[in-house]
């Protein structure tokens, strides 16, 4: 993987669609995710979180690239490693932090926590604790969009490990025979918990599975924001025109352990370090591209980094000040 996009930015759909300001907003989103996740990691180490935690560090280009390629009216499903998706879509670190700290005022008011953020009105149909759990759901959303002839798409994110669930098979097949406007993004971050992807599948690419259902699949550099954006944007345009589903496999890497309990015996520190180098780290790569293109300068970049960190400070303070959920509301949402 090289930073091919760096040279080809002028040809990128991302530049045309987002413009320089939009590109900066996307970079800001990636910076926010990184700062947010690093803070969450500290909060965990300080014993201030509860339950599990799956961090997005290293996957920001896919998180933001995929979601910023959508537009208002579109919908998406996230998964268990979804802080990045929540932030890329809502740009609301306060609410996300409130969820993580189990407070009121977040997306899910103490009911859902880290894996179940959702902002349904805006089209964010939620995280999921069940690997591949969003895949069958996206079929129904795609159907609804199609039946109502809406000009919208549904995107569903999942991991490389999720690609081995039967749910994938059923969802991809149904989307293909009905030509649903669904975009499947496999965030292949090289591991499912302790299982390297080459121990769980016996083919070169996960995207090749799409061909077994009769629709296009692409394997792309998931740490290249521009490549992710362009690929997803093209898939969405096709889907809006009735062109049916697309499977996108975005190659990326999980920098942190799988979750709280991970001793990471299955990989070397050296391997992790390699993915943090400037030619691989998704933030450093987009920064370099935007600098090279003159869209940002070093000063602005510093300001952006500072702003990301400030917003995270604010989010933590806000969430810590928020009240705990009121147990008297325990049964409020079981039935409509």
């Amino acid at each position: 993987m090289q930073n091919a996009a760096r040279e080809s930015l002028p040809q990128c759909q991302a530049l045309k669609v987002l413009g320089p300001a939009g590109l900066k907003a996307s970079l800001a989103s990636m910076l926010l995710i990184r700062a947010f996740e690093e803070r969450v990691d500290q909060l965990y180490l300080a014993g201030r979180t509860r339950g599990t935690l799956h961090l997005s560090i290293g996957q920001e280009a896919t998180n933001v690239g995929a979601l910023h390629a959508l537009r208002a009216g579109d919908r998406f499903f996230s998964h268990h490693r979804g802080h990045g998706h929540a932030l890329a879509w809502t740009d609301d670190p306060r609410r996300a932090m409130a969820d993580i700290l189990g407070k009121s005022g977040g997306f899910c008011e103490g009911f859902g926590g880290t894996m179940h953020m959702a902002d349904v009105k805006s089209g964010f149909l939620g995280g999921n604790g069940i690997v591949a759990g969003g895949l069958p759901l996206s079929t129904g959303v795609g159907l609804a969009i199609q039946l109502r002839a809406e000009d919208a798409v549904c995107l569903v994110l999942f991991g490389d490990g999720a690609a081995n669930e039967g749910a994938l098979h059923e969802a991809l097949n149904m989307a293909s025979i009905w030509q649903l406007p669904v975009i499947y993004i496999c965030e292949n971050n090289s591991y499912a918990m302790s299982t390297p992807v080459n121990r769980s599948i016996n083919v070169e690419t996960i995207s090749s599975r799409a061909t077994a259902y009769g629709f296009p699949g692409f394997t792309i550099d998931g740490n290249d924001f521009l490549e992710v954006f362009d690929c997803v944007h093209a898939a969405a345009s096709r889907a809006r025109k009735g062109g049916g589903p697309t499977l996108v496999e975005a190659l990326t890497y999980r920098i942190k352990g799988h979750s709280r309990s991970d001793r990471q015996a299955y990989r070397s520190r050296e391997e992790v370090r390699r993915w943090q180098e400037p030619d691989r780290d998704p933030l450093l790569r987009l920064e370099a591209t935007l600098l090279h293109a003159g869209i940002v300068d070093e000063e602005e970049l510093s300001a952006m980094r500072l702003r990301a960190s400030d917003r995270v400070d604010d989010a933590v303070a806000w969430a810590e000040a928020a009240p705990a959920p009121d147990p008297s509301g325990l049964l409020d949402h079981v039935y409509a």
Binding site: R75, F107, C108, E109, G110, F111, G112, H116, A118, D119, V120, K121, L125, G126, N128, G129, I130, G133, L135, P136, L137, S138, T139, G140, V141, G142, L143, A144, I145, L147, G166, A167, E170, A171, N173, M174, I177, D332, H333, V334, Y335, A336
Partner: protein, 328 residues
């Protein structure tokens, strides 16, 4: 009075719901040209087209997920599981997604779906096509569970289930499809969460569900001839359970027999008994509350074995008589 079969009553409910609301759609295997494995959806494809009567591949997790996804998008899908047993393939989407999403997201979504489960034994369909799983769903907060025992209730409860904004498990019984009864033409609703008292009686309260209701009523007739006056109550909705009429009845009769086809151990009968004995009816009990239910065995295929596994008319008569006569 117009009579329809249970099958026709369900069909009419679907037609009326779909006529009234374009958001009502059907999703399932062979529900189009074939008309559903039990003929319940016959004619609907012609009337409503492939956009609303959606024949699927054999993918039960996919079907369940499609229903949940469509429901949170504002549609009102009615899923068809073909046989109740196949929901074992959709449990994750139904229970972990459909039933829990509203709570997990603190009320941000509604999940108005109906999943039709044709269940029950008696047709010689053997262990993988004869199941009664209703108590699994009773055990899942977020779901409602409906189990109509007559053509009249089939229509009224299905219309109410489709109106409901929650995921409703709709348990039909294969042997009931051909049973007939009075069914008004208009699109009436029978509210969820209301038991039906089929017959009043002073000596014993018999709570029965689905196929067992008709047998219970027959048994009550026979026992009336022996001077035993049996009250027959059909909860119709198992979750939420309208226990008041049951409790009131037991206060009057002092005796309770719960009859269902599902196997006894871990079944719905335990829930009914536990609620009754925890209620004010406890002080009025003249005899131990009893259950009569399916034997603890996978449903066998052949006639004699199957009949031995499932409560029969004579079993109900026997147990009710014993209970009424304090012979237990």
């Amino acid at each position: 009075m117009r009579e329809l079969s249970y099958r026709e009553a369900l069909n009419e409910a679907l037609v009326q719901a779909m006529d009234a609301d374009p958001d009502v759609i059907l999703i399932g295997e062979d529900i189009g040209t074939y008309g559903g494995a039990f003929g319940v959806t016959r004619g609907l494809l012609d009337r409503f087209g492939t956009g609303r009567v959606i024949d699927t591949p054999i993918s039960e997790a996919g079907i369940t997920g499609a229903c949940v996804g469509a429901a949170i998008s504002g549609l009102r899908p009615v899923g068809d599981m073909q046989f109740s047993d196949f929901i074992t393939l959709g449990m994750e989407q139904l229970v972990l997604q459909g039933a829990r999403m509203r709570t997990m997201f603190a009320g941000q979504v509604k999940v108005p779906l109906v999943m039709r489960l044709p269940g029950g034994a008696g047709t010689g369909a053997a262990a993988q096509h004869s199941g009664s799983y209703e108590n699994w769903f009773v055990h899942v907060p977020g779901l409602k569970v409906v189990m109509p025992a007559s053509a009249y209730d089939a229509k009224g409860l299905l219309l109410a289930a489709i109106d409901d904004d929650n995921p409703v498990i709709f348990c039909e019984h294969k042997l009931l499809y051909n049973t007939r009864g009075h069914v008004p033409e208009e699109a009436y609703r029978e509210p969820l969460g209301v038991s039906r008292v089929w017959r009043r009686g002073r000596d014993l309260t018999l709570v029965a569900t689905s196929m067992m209701v008709a047998l219970a009523l027959e048994a009550a007739d026979q026992l009336a001839g022996e001077g035993i006056d049996v009250e027959v109550i059909d909860p119709r909705t198992l979750r939420p359970l309208d226990e008041t009429p049951i409790v009131e009845s037991v206060i009057r009769t002092g005796r309770l027999l719960v009859v269902h086809e599902a196997v006894e151990t871990g079944g719905f009968g335990g829930e009914v008994v536990a609620r009754v004995v925890a209620s004010e009816a406890f002080d009025y009990l003249d005899a131990p509350p009893l259950r009569l239910a399916g034997k603890d065995v996978p449903v066998p295929q052949s006639e004699v074995l199957e009949a031995a596994a499932i409560p029969q008319f004579r079993d109900i008569v026997r147990d009710a008589r014993k209970l009424a006569r304090n012979e237990v």
